[in-house]
């Protein structure tokens, strides 16, 4: 059988093209390719070479429209035993090809050529084409003449033109030879034999039969020559005669041959016009042809003409091969395929299958074509030689598309693109089931595995390691679940064996193992956050920090999410990381020599890493790289160097695979079978690379560990910032964020600002003053039972430490750089320095309370200073000691008083604390005018030491103060509680007074500082303001508020008396102004001052007590006599006025006495009741003055 048979093939002149001498294969191919287009030489073109020697037997040769057809066979075909039967099987011409540079001796070449021609006995015209001769050869060759044709070196069009001319000459020579042959055959006849006739002994009957048939056969052959000579009409005439004769002689075989020829003549004649009538005619005649070939097989012979039947079938199929006639063609091809098993010659079967596959392919039946291609490949593989294996491999490669196992290198861009779209759709939102299914069309895994295995086998035999590797990789990657562990090992070995034969660094389009999927893109660590900066805003960082009263803002949240999802900014020169997950679902140890990100945009340097994966395991690894230039970056996958070959693993493919696995369409999910958790689809964000930005790196001086502080401790922490980038920092701004921001007392942004611009590599160190916050109540409780480290752990976990935010940016680009718009300002960055503060429980405050102490005053001639407006001090404040100045006359009470603030502190820690209490003094305060000379603004009390697990009380003496007027403003709260609507009384001044009190308390509190020290470098301040305030608030009523009434006693000297006893008085006054002599009438007066704004009615009582506290005015043993009224003195005191009540006392016994005044206020108003904290309105308001001491001198 011959390949590529067609009906028109009968009209083709077979020309052998043989290389003479050594012709490099690529040049031979080149020369051959120049000959191919010359397959049709029009008759009109050869007329110049044609000379009519005799009358041409081709009577109706169409000189204007006809042509000669050539079939060039490289290397020539061996003589066929059937060439008498079909003249187109004869090699009628030989063209030798000589490449002159490699065969310098033309004589030798000519000899070799004439030898070569001997193997083509039927050849009528021989020509030897010598290409690229040099000058000497040209000279030499031109002398030779004969069959040698020299083609001087020229460009290709010229060469083609020359060749065309030479072919025309050959065509003309052939035509003349045909004429000669036909004339000879017509006149003398010729013996035509086929293998069918070549019986050794012919019976006489058969000899007669053969003689009869001879004429018909001759006519048929003449017809063949007419066809070859391009004269279909002549051919048809001869064929008609031949048909008639062979029908009469029962020569079915030749009948069929003549019929075939006639169909060809018909087609050549009707060249270009194809109508259904012609088609019907061809179909009809060919059916006769096939039938007659079949009939001729009935003669039982050694040689079967089956091949002719099959060829005829294929010819018809080729003629009809159109989509509309698919059914008919399929029928023909199926019949042809059935004939295969009757074929004896394996190569015939091979050709048959090849032709069937070709025809199915041109019909568009790719699966059918693939099926027969595979049959072809199997036939090739049976031959067991390398060339056949190469052929098998190539044929199988053609089937891969139909079986959907094609190598990625053979995939067109279009299909890749289409897949991309599909998977994009799958990514976005709900997966459309149909699209998912369509991704896995034609997953005939059994067939696919067989085909891949055959490719692998043939590639190994053919010695093509790359194809073998690729096939093994596809097999292993796609069908590992169907392959036994032993088989997987075998494939792994095949991969490594193939890789051994490949040069180092070979790339293959088909990935093997492992499976690689994108795990995640780690977001920027907070250290290198990028903040968009606009040139319009000077404080671009402000927008970045959460603003407004809401912690959660739906708008900003969504925005930031979007950014995270779809956009990622990388910076030139700064390493980035991407997490990918690798899976090895096979039963062998997988060693990945290197894996790195594959970036097609070319602006990224990826760093390879090597990994080894255990059988059935998966691993998440970090791949890193450095962006090298500005622009978008796309990461479609990873480049993997595994099994000795470099392959690209696309994330998208694995995503599709996983999608299919989830739908139950593919065999298995490689990640799940490795025990990896299900991961949601990670979409590759749009990554853009921006120009280099500055990069701040922070470092806490003295170690980056946690800063351990006791509650209230104040410490300076030094933070060192360094610019690790390549761009200077021109803007910087510090702010605070996080919890416990108030624990950062100060930070020196000026230090940082003064260092700007911070050059690359430059450093700046600046202090941050911290004060530890209070450990929460819960912490304190838990801390009691816990160790310090336990506390520490918790603190660091809670993330309650504040952070310093540094917003910084490089230079704004000048307008020349970006003339387009101003918005392309390089972004700024944010550095978050979390201050790892760990607060340990320190001194704890237990309680605070106000204590008051009274010293009774001595009754003198003048009262202690009562007028609050007068700033003069009390009489006795003359002590030089500091302590004494705190003992003061209470201007309202009229007695000496000392106020303490008692603080109770405990130390639950295991270190010793020392307490320093200091009170800041106010120079303007009315109590310490005397001490202006000291200039001390702060008074420090002695240190108090509190051992571990001990508690201590610290007394803080207070300079007391009271408010001038007792009015309802203090009790607004109380009256409101009573529901009396006291608010109506609250005038502005009252409010003012209240505020004044609060201010006083605050002022007082702010002046008290409790500092502590512990160990060498821990010191701090106890934050007890609230506690003191609470303590003051509860006792402010009792201690700080003025009493409604102030009582004072004084001695009264009559003017007359004083005049009389002037020397006495002088002496007395020299001794003591306030001395009282026993046994003497002592006039005294009591002053009662109304501190309220209301008229007070009351009854006053005065008592005198002795040292023992006995009442010495009343009773039987009274030692004091008196004149005047001492009890139930009814009084009415207008607001803020004082009233004197005079009386005289006569002391019988010298010694110490105490005078006490008390009053019962009638008709007390609400304010007084509130002050007295009465429970019922009926209760009398009792007001008692402070005791006054009287020292009575004299002898008993």
């Amino acid at each position: 059988m011959e390949p590529e048979v067609s009906i028109e093939g009968s009209a083709m002149i077979q020309v052998a093209v043989v290389p003479i001498g050594t012709v490099p294969s690529n040049l031979l191919r080149d020369y051959y390719s120049m000959l191919i287009p010359l397959h049709t030489i029009p008759l009109s073109a050869i007329s110049s070479f044609y000379t009519e020697h005799q009358k041409s037997p081709f009577a109706v040769q169409p000189w204007d429209s006809g042509s000669l057809r050539f079939k060039f066979v490289l290397g020539g075909a061996p003589p066929s035993p059937w060439e008498d039967f079909q003249s187109n099987r004869k090699t009628l011409a030989v063209v030798g090809v000589v490449h002159c540079p490699s065969s310098p001796d033309l004589d030798t070449a000519v000899d070799v050529f004439s030898n070569a021609c001997k193997s083509f006995p039927s050849s009528l015209v021989d020509r030897c084409f010598a290409f690229c001769p040099n000058d000497s050869q040209l000279e030499d060759g031109s002398k030779k003449g004969g069959n040698l044709r020299l083609f001087p070196p020229a460009d290709r069009p010229t060469l083609e033109f020359h060749l065309n001319t030479m072919m025309q000459e050959i065509a003309a020579s052939l035509l003349m030879e045909f004429e000669k042959w036909v004339l000879q055959a017509e006149s003398s006849g010729t013996i035509l034999k086929t293998p069918l006739d070549s019986q050794a002994s012919l019976s006489s009957e058969e000899v007669i039969k053969a003689k009869k048939r001879r004429l018909g056969r001759a006519q048929k052959t003449i017809g063949d020559y007419c066809l070859l000579a391009g004269s279909p009409v002549d051919a048809n005439a001869h064929y008609s005669t031949a048909l008639e004769l062979s029908r009469l002689t029962g020569d079915y075989f030749w009948y069929a041959g003549a019929m075939e020829g006639s169909v060809c003549a018909l087609l050549i004649d009707r060249m270009g016009q194809k109508d259904s009538a012609l088609e019907e005619e061809v179909r009809y005649r060919y059916n006769i042809v096939i039938m007659n070939y079949k009939k001729s097989q009935d003669n039982v012979q050694r040689v079967s003409p089956l091949t002719f039947e099959l060829e005829a079938t294929l010819k018809l199929a080729r003629f009809l091969c159109r989509r509309e006639l698919a059914k008919e063609v399929v029928e023909l091809l199926t019949t042809a395929a059935d004939g295969a098993k009757s074929l004896i010659d394996a190569s015939d079967r091979l050709i048959l299958y090849i032709e069937i596959a070709r025809l199915y392919g041109s019909l568009g039946y790719h699966r059918k074509a693939a099926f027969f291609s595979r049959q072809v490949a199997q036939l090739y593989l049976q031959q067991e030689n390398r060339l056949a294996a190469i052929s098998a491999m190539q044929v199988l490669a053609m089937t891969t598309k139909a079986y959907h196992v094609q190598s990625r290198s053979s995939l067109s861009d279009h299909s890749l693109h289409r897949n991309g779209i599909v998977s994009n759709n799958a990514d976005s939102g709900k997966t459309n089931h149909q699209s998912a299914v369509s991704l896995f069309e034609s997953q005939w895994s059994t067939l696919q595995m067989v085909v891949l295995r055959e490719i692998l086998l043939s590639a190994v035999r053919a010695g093509d390691p790359l194809t073998a590797w690729s096939a093994a990789a596809r097999l292993l990657r796609s069908y590992y679940p169907l392959i036994t562990p032993a088989g997987q090992n075998g494939l792994a070995n095949a991969l490594s064996n193939s890789a051994d034969r490949l040069p180092l660094g070979t790339r293959c389009a088909d990935p093997a193992l492992p499976f690689v999927r994108l795990h995640s893109f780690p977001l920027h660590p907070t250290q290198i956050d990028i903040i968009k900066r606009s040139s319009a805003r000077e404080d671009w960082w402000a927008g970045a920090a959460p603003s407004g009263p809401f912690i959660y803002t739906p708008f900003s949240k969504g925005e930031s999410n979007n950014i995270k999802k779809h956009e990622l900014i990388w910076i030139v020169g700064e390493p980035v990381e991407v997490l990918v997950e690798l899976a090895n679902p096979c039963g062998f140890d997988l060693r990945v020599d290197s894996i790195y990100l594959s970036v097609h945009s070319g602006n990224f340097d990826a760093f390879p890493v090597s990994v080894s994966l255990l059988p059935n395991s998966s691993k998440v690894i970090t791949l890193s790289g450095i962006p090298t230039s500005v622009g978008p970056v796309s990461i479609p996958g990873c480049i993997v160097h595994c099994f000795g070959v470099i392959t690209e693993h696309l994330f998208k493919e694995v995503d599709n695979l996983l999608l299919g696995a989830s739908q139950g369409l593919v065999l298995s999910d490689p990640f799940r079978c490795c025990g990896s958790p299900k991961l949601k689809n990670v979409s590759v964000p749009n990554i853009s690379v921006v120009p280099p930005l500055p990069l701040l790196v922070s470092h806490v001086v003295g170690g980056d560990g946690a800063i351990i502080l006791y509650e209230g401790e104040i410490r300076d922490v030094w933070i060192r910032l360094a610019n690790a980038g390549t761009v200077p920092i021109e803007q910087a701004h510090i702010s605070l964020s996080g919890k416990n921001q108030d624990s950062v007392i100060s930070y020196s942004s000026e230090t940082l600002k003064s260092c700007l611009p911070l050059r690359p590599g430059a450093e700046v160190t600046f202090p941050v003053t911290l004060r530890a916050w209070q450990v929460g109540l819960v912490d304190a409780d838990a801390g009691a039972g816990k160790t310090v480290s336990g506390n520490y752990m918790r603190h660091s976990k809670d993330g309650i430490s504040p952070s310093l935010l540094f917003h910084y940016a490089g230079p704004m680009k000048t307008s020349e750089d970006t003339p387009t718009n101003g918005s392309t300002v390089p972004p700024g960055r944010r550095l978050v320095v979390p201050l790892q503060i760990c607060v340990l429980q320190g001194l704890s405050f237990v309680k605070a309370q106000l204590l008051s102490m009274e010293f009774p005053a001595h009754v003198g001639e003048s009262l202690p200073k009562l007028d609050v407006n007068n700033k003069s001090t009390g009489e006795h404040v003359d002590s030089e000691t500091k302590m004494d100045r705190l003992v003061k006359i209470d201007p309202f009470r009229g007695s000496w008083g000392l106020r303490f603030l008692e603080l109770e502190l405990s130390n639950p820690t295991d270190v010793v604390f020392e307490i320093n209490v200091s009170v800041k003094l106010e120079k303007s305060s009315n109590e310490n005018n005397h001490f202006t000379d000291q200039g001390a603004t702060e008074y420090v009390y002695p240190k108090t030491r509190i051992d571990r697990d001990c508690s201590a009380r610290v007394l803080v003496p207070l300079e007391h103060f009271k408010l001038p007027v007792l009015d309802d403003s203090f009790f607004i709260k109380d009256t409101q509680l009573d529901g009396n609507g006291g608010g109506r009384n609250a005038s502005f001044s009252e409010k003012n007074t209240k505020a004044e009190l609060n201010a006083c308390i605050k002022n007082l509190i702010s002046r008290i500082k409790v500092r502590w020290h512990s160990g060498r470098n821990s010191s701090g301040e106890l934050n007890i303001k609230e506690a003191i305030q609470a303590a003051l608030q509860t006792s402010v009523m009792d201690v700080l508020l003025p009493d409604p009434l102030t009582f004072g006693f004084r001695l009264v000297r009559d003017d007359s008396e004083s005049k009389k006893t002037e020397p006495d008085k002088e002496s007395e006054s020299a001794v003591s102004k306030g001395s009282v002599i026993a046994h003497e009438m002592t006039p005294m007066e009591v002053l009662v001052r109304n501190n309220t704004k209301d008229m007070l009615k009351m009854s006053l009582n005065i008592t005198c007590r002795d040292v023992a506290g006995e009442n010495c005015v009343d009773g039987t043993k009274a030692t004091v006599l008196w004149t005047g009224v001492l009890s139930d003195i009814a009084m009415e005191i207008p607001p803020l006025q004082q009233i004197k009540h005079s009386f005289c006392l006569h002391f019988l016994v010298p010694g110490e006495y105490t005078l006490l005044a008390a009053a019962v206020i009638d008709d007390a108003n609400d304010i007084l009741r509130a002050r007295a904290k009465t429970t019922s309105a009926a209760e009398p308001i009792f007001c008692r003055g402070p005791p006054y001491h009287v020292r009575v001198l004299g002898t008993a």
């Binding site: 039946y365 099926f371 069309e441």
Partner: protein, 135 residues
């Protein structure tokens, strides 16, 4: 019963969703592969033939050597394909009709995703029983 019979259900997406060797011939792996190859190739012919007739049973559409491919196309363009070497047209037709019914029952299962592999062992058992009965 047929010596060789390979039954296969191909979804509308050309994915085989059920495969069974139902012949009595000794099972040989390369033979089974060849059967699938033949059936796969026959899809080309079925794809054209299915639109030329209203009948679901397309009879024998293709053959390779002694092996004949009979096809039954459901309304959803799922193809039930049988490769056989016997000429028992009526039996094959009944077989296809009964398997079609089984297939519809599978489709009605809400947990079955149309177009995915039929893994039900019940289905398999039933198909094999039908093959014994008709082929």
């Amino acid at each position: 019963m047929a010596t060789t019979a390979c039954f296969i259900i191909v979804s509308r997406n050309d994915i085989p969703i059920y495969e069974a060797e139902v012949g009595v011939a000794a099972k040989r792996e390369d033979a089974a592969q060849l059967h699938q190859f033949i059936l796969h190739a026959a899809l080309d012919i079925v794809q054209d033939l299915a639109w030329t007739t209203s009948a679901m049973y397309l009879k024998s559409v293709d053959r390779f050597n002694e092996l004949v491919v009979s096809v039954y196309v459901t309304a959803g363009h799922t193809r039930l394909m049988l490769l056989h070497d016997s000429r028992n047209d009526d039996g094959i037709k009944s077989f296809f009709q009964d398997v079609h019914e089984l297939y519809i029952k599978t489709l009605l299962n809400p947990l079955y995703l149309p177009g995915s592999r039929i893994t039900s062992s019940h289905f398999d058992t039933k198909v094999r029983a039908l093959a014994r009965k008709y082929l």
